[in-house]
Symmetry: C2
Subunit: 239 residues, 2 copies
């Protein structure tokens, strides 16, 4: 074999690996920022901190730009490097995860907007305990989903999917409480509705964290586990 050529190939594949690593690190950087957005949005709502809420909404623009940039990076790698199966899966999974992160950012910005409305219209008499609780949970789920992605860790990914089911249950129960409360005190409806929309946004964040986790499972196992139950998912993963 021609040594020069070999060195050339090594060089190319080193560049390619660098590019893949860069996408991954950009994704995790975006993830870190998004996770902070979730936390700040919840804080702005619970502490009626309209300044923090304004910040969250401003930062969302940066996150949108990150989505576009990383997506472009992914397309460029596919076009120029024509990656083989497992590398291609990584790039596609990254591009999908970026999309979910952007949506988590969107939901955080929505919560920040609701925090501002609650500052103007007056606090809701109920719902803050639920927001803090479910909010903490989905923020941690977002973090775990990213850790799972970084480490290609299927166990953690599965745990996130399992936790999303619990979040859905807690969300349903909180929602029933809010409806009951509105019936008892109709004058509070407008303000409680802001809490309802916030809870809804948090529940969506949980869904997106779960999507990222399912993506990790696809990446590691090559199996598409969207739209299947946790039981089926455990079977796929031989649990």
């Amino acid at each position: 074999m021609d040594l020069t050529n070999d060195a050339h190939t090594d060089h190319i594949s080193q560049q390619f690996n660098d590019e893949l690593e860069r996408v991954k690190s950009h994704l995790l950087e975006m993830g870190g920022l998004v996770e902070q957005q979730v936390g700040d949005a919840i804080k702005s709502l619970i502490e009626a901190d309209s300044e923090l809420a304004v910040n969250v909404r401003a930062t969302d623009k940066r996150i949108n730009q990150m989505e576009i940039d990383i997506d472009e990076e992914c397309t460029r790698i596919i076009a120029r490097r024509q990656p083989a199966a497992s590398d291609l899966r990584l790039v596609i999974a990254a591009s999908k995860a970026v999309n979910d992160l952007e949506r988590i950012g969107d939901e955080s910005a929505k919560i920040a907007r609701l925090a501002m409305k609650l500052c103007e219209e007056g606090e809701s008499p109920r719902g803050y305990v639920e927001i803090r609780h479910i909010g903490d949970r989905v923020r941690r789920m977002t973090q775990s989903a990213l850790t799972a992605f970084a480490r290609l860790d299927v166990e953690t990914a599965l745990a996130v999917a399992q936790e999303d089911k619990e979040v859905d249950r807690e969300y349903e129960s909180a929602m029933r409480e809010m409806v009951t409360y509105m019936m008892e005190d109709p004058r509070s409806i407008k303000r409680v509705m802001n809490v309802i929309w916030s809870l809804r946004a948090l529940e969506r964040i949980g869904d997106h964290a779960r999507n990222i986790a399912e993506n990790v499972i696809y990446l590691v196992k090559g199996k598409d586990v969207r739209h299947i139950s946790i039981d089926e998912m455990e079977k796929v993963l031989d649990k």
Copy 2:
């Protein structure tokens, strides 16, 4: 040039074109089914037709499977054909559109579930006019977005994005009315909440139709127009 080789290349590129056409036609087939789901979901809600609602929820499983299948098709094409810039864009755009279609399907299934709840818990005293109106609009937007995709028609895509802004306005106004109504008649809160969630699902369908339309613009113009205002979008398209 070697004629045999040429014939071979022609053969490969013919196969490749066939594969691209097949993805496109599968996408449009899925789109047709999703559009029907939107219509049926709205009908089941307005006419309190629980049988139709059950159908919509059953069909959603088929749509989920279509997403997985077409997504696999896209990944396979990228891995095996290593398409160049514009073809790659088509495959990526198709894969994203499929994801939005699946979510439109999801929102339709949610509406069907709310239709079933309204059948059990009793009709809402208000909101059907708004659901019919906004529902018709987002169903047509879904259709237009798919037409824009099939014909690579930027004008139609832009019109969908513009219409989404109007839908958002109508949604906000309908939402204010529902809140006012709940305050006037607190006993109706539970039932009106089902209408509120349905309106919310319709508004999300509009968002997804807009995503598909933005995707068409990316495909034709190579410009990412997510996260920008309609004014900026018109500027990008030299309107």
